[in-house]
């Protein structure tokens, strides 16, 4: 019960922070309140003074902001505690809340799976609330009121937490909608730009279509059972066809929220539009809630899995992973790039979940547990490093007033701390050893490598191909983030803004990213802490955990069996430190050559390196653009302005490059076109003549009477 209270507290605190935010411009009212109630018989002068200080004109705003984020942070802390407690306890707690429909109170269930996602949300929210106060201080109160931001942030976080607690379809959908709608307002927060309004609209549209698909999938399930509680839905026995229909609907709905190709288009629009800490929450946390929904629906509610579903997930995941990172590579806007990279990571998660399903349906529950574990671990890791990178992007946006990678450069000299934290994020997301991203990808490879146990030859050849695609994804991700880090932080500054950029003044803004970076490294070295927790979750949900002889000690990671495969990050770290230390010490022992001489870089003797000579973002990715040319819609032009005698002299050269997503002309524009056509047809009914409208009512009435009789 203690755990349950912690979980509720997390939800309540997030709502409380939202409500507190509402009071942001009500200083006068608060003053009046305190005057009226506290003056007459209030005996504590110190308290009095304290209140006055809080309500002082110039300090109130900042203190108030801080208080809102403290509440939000506390909600995160409670979420982490609740999640850890329920995963340690390894049982599922149920409860009922007397809200909602009279005959259907809200059912609540808190088990290992919810607990794990509680942990993800909690960590994300803590980091954001450390970072938030300094970040939101930059907004103009008149244009972008904090009350709105704070309120919807609170509702958004609360909604996500409630989705995880829901144990009946109604409650689930209510929480889901709360999450979607609140995040819509957050995307639309900077509504003065029309691009942001458009992004928010697309987001809302797709969220609602997705929600519709989820409702339908619950409906399919509910029609075979007697009730809407998850317990009843679990008992439902479906024919394979209906189960597949429910699965496809759920995949569409949850996939739309998670951003799987081809229903991903809202992501790269919405993420740059939202404030950075919100994009961090949306990308790092909300997408995981969608993954949670899919896992809950498929692994828990649907029961009997079919391997064909696994293949669908595997293929969709592979396409999303490779496509996502290829699109990410071409984006000059940092936040758009990160959004596309989220698509890539979600693709990886779906891929491994697909593997897990295939193994489960083919009767290898242990391997299914391994895949399940890898997928959840990757979800966790992604929430850490994507949060980190989005928060870093927010810092960069403030310090350079821009998000275009091509205008940055050389920031490592002026922003050493930010650059270091960002580097950690880049290394984790590129899945380099010693960081957490590598461990989950390694587990994914190990899962795929067990394919030899399957009997189906097509599956046996399909899975390695997708594993090779995963390797391609990882390598492309490394290339992409080398580009990101290199263009932003290394080299010479490419614009005045980045030349004048400074490290953030308010160091509290760095605490959130620092926490996340530390966790990235920590779980890269000690992944077993999380894996042991996840093992419990897998046991609860799949009824199977990793084999017992895997020696899951803190030092070794051996998912299949110790004499087949093992990986020991702590020893790798020790080895690297020893090798690096010895070479460092040995080579610098000579005092004469210890100091380095600084000299100008080699400029081929032409004199004077300028920042424009460096490789730019589009130059760096040119080989990829040529090799994978068909992946994008590329519009590349070189315009030359001529002058002089006979127009032979080149005055200026303009390079124009636009890279567009295939899914717009292929998928969305036909749909838009179709809907417009349909609307026109429907529009014919609207003649405008009142007698025709009366005729409609009349015909309807006649029809109804006929139906009733």
């Amino acid at each position: 019960m203690m755990t349950m209270i912690l979980a509720y507290n997390a939800v309540l605190l997030s709502f409380a922070s939202g409500l507190l935010a509402l009071l942001s411009n009500q200083r006068a009212m608060l003053m009046a309140l305190s005057q009226r109630y506290l003056t007459s018989d209030f005996h504590y002068p110190r308290c009095r003074k304290f209140l006055d200080r809080i309500l002082e004109e110039n300090r109130h705003a900042s203190l108030h902001r801080r208080a809102v984020f403290v509440l939000l942070g506390l909600s995160g802390v409670f979420a982490v505690l609740a999640g850890l407690a329920v995963m340690m306890g390894q049982d599922s707690l149920t409860d009922q809340i007397g809200l909602g429909l009279p005959w259907l109170p809200w059912h609540v269930r808190f088990d290992g799976l919810s607990g794990f996602f509680y942990l993800i949300i909690g960590i994300g929210v803590i980091a954001v609330s450390l970072y938030g106060p300094a970040y939101v201080a930059f907004y103009q109160e008149s244009q972008n009121p904090f009350a709105v931001l704070g309120l919807f942030t609170g509702l958004f976080v609360g909604g996500m937490l409630l989705v995880l607690l829901a144990d009946d379809a109604f409650f689930f959908m209510i929480a889901w909608e709360l999450m979607s709608v609140a995040s819509y307002f957050l995307v639309a927060f900077q509504h003065e730009h029309s691009a942001n309004r458009r992004a928010a609209f697309i987001y809302l549209l797709m969220a609602q279509v997705g929600a519709l698909a989820i409702i339908l999938s619950f409906g399919v399930l509910a029609s075979f059972s007697d009730g809407f509680t998850f317990d009843a839905l679990r008992q439902a026995t479906l024919s394979p066809t209906w189960a597949s229909i429910a699965f496809v609907l759920a995949l569409l709905g949850f996939g739309m929220k998670a951003g799987i190709v081809p229903v991903h288009v809202w992501l790269p629009e919405a993420h740059p539009a939202a404030p950075s800490h919100i994009s961090a929450l949306m990308s790092g946390v909300m997408l995981k809630v969608a993954v949670y929904g899919l896992i809950r629906f498929c692994f828990d509610l649907l029961g009997e899995l079919q391997w064909q579903w696994g293949v669908v997930l595997l293929v969709l995941g592979t396409v999303s992973a490779v496509g996502g990172i290829l699109y990410a590579m071409m984006q000059p806007n940092l936040k758009r790039l990160l959004a596309y990279s989220s698509i890539e990571n979600i693709g990886i998660i779906f891929m491994v979940l697909g593997l897990s399903m295939i193994f489960m349906a083919n009767g290898h529950p242990q391997l299914a547990a391994l895949g399940f574990l890898a997928a959840l671990f990757h979800a966790f890791n992604h929430s850490l490093f994507k949060n980190l990178l989005f928060l870093g992007a927010g810092i960069l946006q403030h310090q350079t007033h821009d998000l275009n990678i091509d205008t940055m450069g050389g920031l490592i000299q002026r922003m050493p701390q930010t650059s270091f934290l960002f580097l950690v994020g880049c290394m984790s997301i590129s899945s380099l050893p010693l960081f957490n991203g590598f461990v989950s990808e390694w587990l994914a490879f190990q899962t795929a490598l067990q394919v030899d146990v399957l009997d189906n030859g097509v599956l046996r050849s399909l899975i390695p191909v997708s594993a090779a695609a995963l390797a391609l994804t990882a390598a492309l991700a490394a290339a992409c983030f080398v580009k990101v880090f290199g263009m932003i932080f290394l080299g010479l500054p490419r614009s005045r803004n980045s030349e004048k950029a400074q490290e953030v003044k308010d160091k509290s803004m760095l605490y959130g990213p620092a926490l996340l970076a530390g966790l990235c490294f920590f779980f890269g070295i000690f992944p077993n802490l999380i894996i042991n927790l996840l093992n419990g979750v897998a046991k609860q949900l799949l009824g199977q955990s990793l084999p017992n002889d895997t020696a899951l000690s803190w030092l070794w990671l051996a998912p299949v069996s110790a004499n087949k495969v093992s990986y020991s990050p702590p020893m790798v770290l020790v080895g690297v430190l020893i090798a690096g230390g010895i070479s460092f010490w040995y080579l610098r022992r000579n005092l004469e050559t210890k100091t380095m001489r600084r000299a100008a870089a080699w400029d081929c003797g032409f004199g004077g390196l300028t920042p424009r000579m460096q490789y730019s973002c589009s130059a760096f990715t040119m080989p990829f653009r040529r090799i994978f040319a068909r992946v994008w819609l590329i519009d590349e032009r070189v315009d030359k302005e001529m002058q002089g005698a006979m127009d032979m002299e080149v005055k200026a050269v303009h390079y124009h490059l636009q890279v567009q997503d295939h899914s717009w002309p292929r998928l969305y524009q036909p749909i838009t076109h179709g809907v417009n056509q349909l609307a026109k047809q429907v529009g014919r009914i609207q003649t405008g003549n009142i007698r025709v409208y009366l005729g409609y009512s009349f015909v309807t009435l006649i029809l109804m009477l006929w139906v009733i009789s």
């Binding site: 590598f438 490394a478 080398v482 290394l490 093992s566 790798v572 870089a601 460096q614 080989p623």
Partner: protein, 314 residues
């Protein structure tokens, strides 16, 4: 005891790497009718470089000056997990072949960043090309490794080698494909002809050299040494996985000496093969490299398919 042996093997690995580079150069010179330098020349060069004071570009940050150490230690660690003269050493369990690929990725990440750090066009060009080639090479390499691990059902190098040894001489079509795929990948990853030319400093042709153009002194020495170790690593991988005979399975002095001799002979033969191919082939255009690497990938894929279709039917 076994730990000591493992450390000794790693040190031996690192120490032998320049010798392999020297031998390669010697063979190439003789094939091309040139006078060959001494076999020990790479050692002399490394030694000389470590004595020089390094000159660093003005705008270089800590990434540039620390990258050589990171690259070197990642490569040394990779060397420590590959069985050179004996199997069943404790270091082999620290990491498997996927982590090995990860170590290479780690070193490459920092090398590419170092290339971008100085802010010249050369560095950016080298980094961009290196990342392009490596991202195409990685799937091909993994495909080859997959074929191997499906046969041995382990990704641990030591166990895989023992498996191949115990099986005796079996003519596996999948191994033939995997061998060629891995050879092609190795050539691309170590920057040899026809993908990259290690001897040139012409901006249009260089990849690896473009990134390290600004390095000097001990930094250059470390990077050169690391790339020599990397070359030897691929050589040892190919030699010991596909032709494991001779590697020590016990820890007696005799077995170890025999293992050392075997690997030296194998590497010398591989180097002769490489120098012949480098003499015969010309460097190809950058955008033909994708065809080359997709061929390697195709080989890996066919290897995997022939494993499934021909070898393990059920």
């Amino acid at each position: 005891m076994t730990w000591l042996l493992a450390i000794f093997q790693t040190l031996l690995f690192v120490a032998l790497a320049p010798l392999l580079a020297g031998w390669l150069k010697w063979c190439k010179c003789h094939l091309q009718n040139r006078q060959a330098p001494s076999l020990l020349q790479p050692y002399r060069e490394l030694l000389k470089l470590t004595r020089k004071q390094p000159v660093v570009a003005e705008h270089a940050s800590w990434i540039f000056t620390r990258a050589p150490y990171i690259i070197f230690s990642a490569t040394v660690l990779a060397a420590s997990i590959v069985p050179l003269i004996a199997v069943d050493l404790p270091t082999a369990a620290i990491a498997d072949v996927i982590v090995l690929v990860g170590f290479f990725a780690f070193a490459r990440f920092f090398l590419a960043l170092a290339g971008l750090d100085i802010g010249t066009a050369f560095g950016g060009m080298g980094s961009s090309r290196e990342m392009t080639i490596s991202s195409l090479a990685e799937p091909a390499m993994l495909m080859a490794i997959f074929t191997l691990t499906m046969t041995a059902s382990t990704t641990n190098l030591s166990f895989a080698i023992v498996h191949v040894l115990n099986e005796g001489l079996v003519l596996r079509p999948s191994f033939v494909f995997a061998l060629f795929a891995l050879m092609l990948v190795a050539i691309a990853e170590t920057g040899r002809i026809p993908v990259d030319n290690p001897d040139t400093h012409l901006e249009l042709t260089m990849i690896h050299e473009a990134m390290i153009l600004e390095y000097s002194g001990r930094h250059l020495a470390l990077i050169e040494w690391a790339s020599q170790v990397k070359l030897m690593l691929y050589g040892v991988l190919i030699a010991n996985i596909f032709f494991p005979w001779g590697i020590a399975q016990g820890f007696s002095i005799q077995a170890l000496a025999y293992g050392l001799l075997a690997i030296i002979v194998k590497l010398a033969l591989l180097a002769i093969l490489l120098s012949i191919s480098e003499t015969l082939l010309a460097k190809m255009r950058l955008f033909r490299v994708q065809e080359y690497l997709s061929f390697a990938y195709l080989l890996g894929l066919l290897g995997m398919l022939s494993h499934i279709i021909l070898e393990a039917s059920r």
